[in-house]
Symmetry: C2
Subunit: 356 residues, 2 copies
């Protein structure tokens, strides 16, 4: 195995390249060495224009094609847990970031290096700090600093999706609802006003709430509204003066943030809501020509993406986006993370077919 | 001011004696020096039989009277907070334990020393560790080790009651109810089963619960059933698999523990209850002859005691008991704890009138 100091060779096969990337430790906040290697490798190809902002690299073809598509992936991983360097065993490559998402990055790099004349203009985005607080997210930083670098008709985020196209993503709102009462000794409870008891009606509304299902571009999205935390109480013998309920509303991407918030507030009419997280959804955009061709090239049945992903950042720029990558999402962040070498080759082959 | 080593003089007035007792630090677990002083002072009086178990002292007259009454008080205090030694300012004596309850102990000691021929046989109980965990409580230790020392027709616990007779005490049951569900990512909530939402029905029952009021021996007791704690949740984006509700049922002393538990279980029919505290109530016993005379001698309107006190330990022995003491219950455990010297003198005077 070559040392991390050896320049990246983008002509080796996707599995071998994934192993090279895994052997470049790049835990969030420590992506510089890998970003340098990616930048240097891409600058060797005259058909690419390469830009850099921090540890975020954007490489573009400038062929004047009718459509432009983005292939995006993050360079960072969760902290290493004794699972680097990588290790091959049969068809499986083991190690931190194999599924999430250095296999996807390897496919991006392979396509960037080996498709000098794609049928669509291509924008390859490599970014940092996806696994940490949202404000550090490199794609979010690029959206603010250089939105023109990200302009496109369609985007593919190469997060692990098990080789299935996952369209768009649902939005997420989180709020706190604080119920207030009056403290008293529980032996004289009539002198107090029990804040926990006031949660009864609020939880009733949640327990009878019928979440909506909606089909968008042929994908069914299923919403959900849930109390994910509740806490109240002072001591075993005190009538509690406060009870705090944390509610998470996951909503289909046909609602805007404003519409989702209005719906949440209508469910909790009569309560004060304190919004603590507001994340827009992303429409799958599968009716776009580039997307239709993409789905046909990848094959299989696209499905809706429920969890929030960075595709929403493209959606906010007006770029429809899907998730598609060779990794297994169920293995992300696990000590025994691995990826199928066959899946890496298949992803590259299908994307190449779409773009050739 | 005399040093703690000087023997206790039980002939000085109640306020001065209270000050002496306050100047004997006796935080729970450190009552030995004060218990020694109390024992030695009482042994000087030939009309008293004095027994000791640990730091618990019991002094009795043996006059063959038709009735026997107990005057009981604890020797310990909560931790000192810069409020010892005591300090007199006008009618107020300041210091740790002035109200809770060295003023009551001083009245006990004064009566023990100066009533060689009471109209009822008297049992004076001084015990340790009332302010800490129930299993260390000296009165509870005596109940187990020497119940015959506590035999009586009526008992007065001299805890601070603001000079008002407080009859009996309510019982208390505490239980945990754990609601269980299935964990899932909140973006795919239909794969889970929200344990917090299951608290809706349980809290509804509590919020509509109509607590009983009942008059016993002319005193009105008011029950209460309350959730005093609730907690559930794993993370803001996880459907919670557990929600724990802590319920406290305060019940009037006409219910036995078994009856109170059966009632609690009937309210929460369909749920599993885990009882974590079971404390019986105490009947006021104001229809007893000794109690009737006591109430007449003290004057004022007796009221029900709601909070649990050691009177329940007498009740469990078949001895009706009331709370009556010169201290102010609202000052107990406070840094600015104090007591009225007039109130100490009045309590002694009224008890003396009852017992003469």
């Amino acid at each position: 195995m070559s040392s991390p100091d050896t320049p990246l060779d983008l002509t080796i096969d996707g599995g071998a390249l994934t192993a090279r990337l895994v052997d470049f430790p790049s835990v969030s906040g420590n992506e510089k060495a890998l970003a340098d290697a990616v930048e240097n490798a891409l600058r060797a190809y005259p058909h690419l224009t390469v830009d850099r902002h921090g540890n975020n690299i954007v490489a573009r073809t400038q062929l004047g094609r009718a459509e432009r598509v983005v292939l995006a992936g993050h360079l960072d991983t969760v902290p290493i847990a004794g699972n680097v360097p990588s290790r091959v065993d049969g068809d499986l490559l083991w190690g931190c970031g194999t599924s999430d998402m250095k296999s996807g990055v390897a496919v991006q790099l392979r396509l960037a290096a080996t498709l000098p004349e794609p049928n669509r203009d291509l924008t390859f985005v490599f970014y940092d700090c996806e696994e940490v607080e949202a404000f550090r997210n490199g794609l979010g930083v690029l959206v603010q600093a250089h939105p023109e670098w990200l302009a496109a008709d369609f985007a593919v985020l190469m997060e692990p999706s098990g080789g299935v196209v996952e369209g768009g993503c649902q939005g997420s709102l989180r709020c706190d609802i604080v119920l207030r009462g009056t403290r008293a000794h529980s032996a004289r409870s009539w002198l107090g006003d029990n804040a926990i008891h006031k949660a009864a009606e609020l939880l009733r509304r949640l327990s009878v709430y019928e979440p909506r299902r909606v089909v968008i571009d042929g994908l069914e999205y299923r919403e959900g509204m849930n109390a994910t935390r509740i806490e109240g109480g002072v001591a075993g013998n005190v009538i509690p003066d406060e009870c705090r309920v944390h509610v998470n509303f996951r909503y289909a991407p046909d609602r805007t943030v404003e519409e989702a918030e209005a719906h949440l507030r209508s469910v909790f009419e009569g309560y004060d809501l304190d919004l603590v997280d507001v994340s827009p959804g992303a429409l799958p955009g599968l009716s776009q020509p580039a997307a239709r061709d993409f789905v046909a090239a990848i094959g299989g049945e696209p499905r809706a993406k429920f969890g929030w992903t960075d595709v929403a950042r493209f959606s906010a720029l007006g770029v429809p986006a899907v998730n598609y990558g060779p990794g297994d999402p169920n293995l992300a962040h696990k000590v025994d993370e691995h990826v199928s070498l066959t899946a890496i080759a298949e992803a590259e082959e299908r994307l190449r077919a779409w773009l050739s």
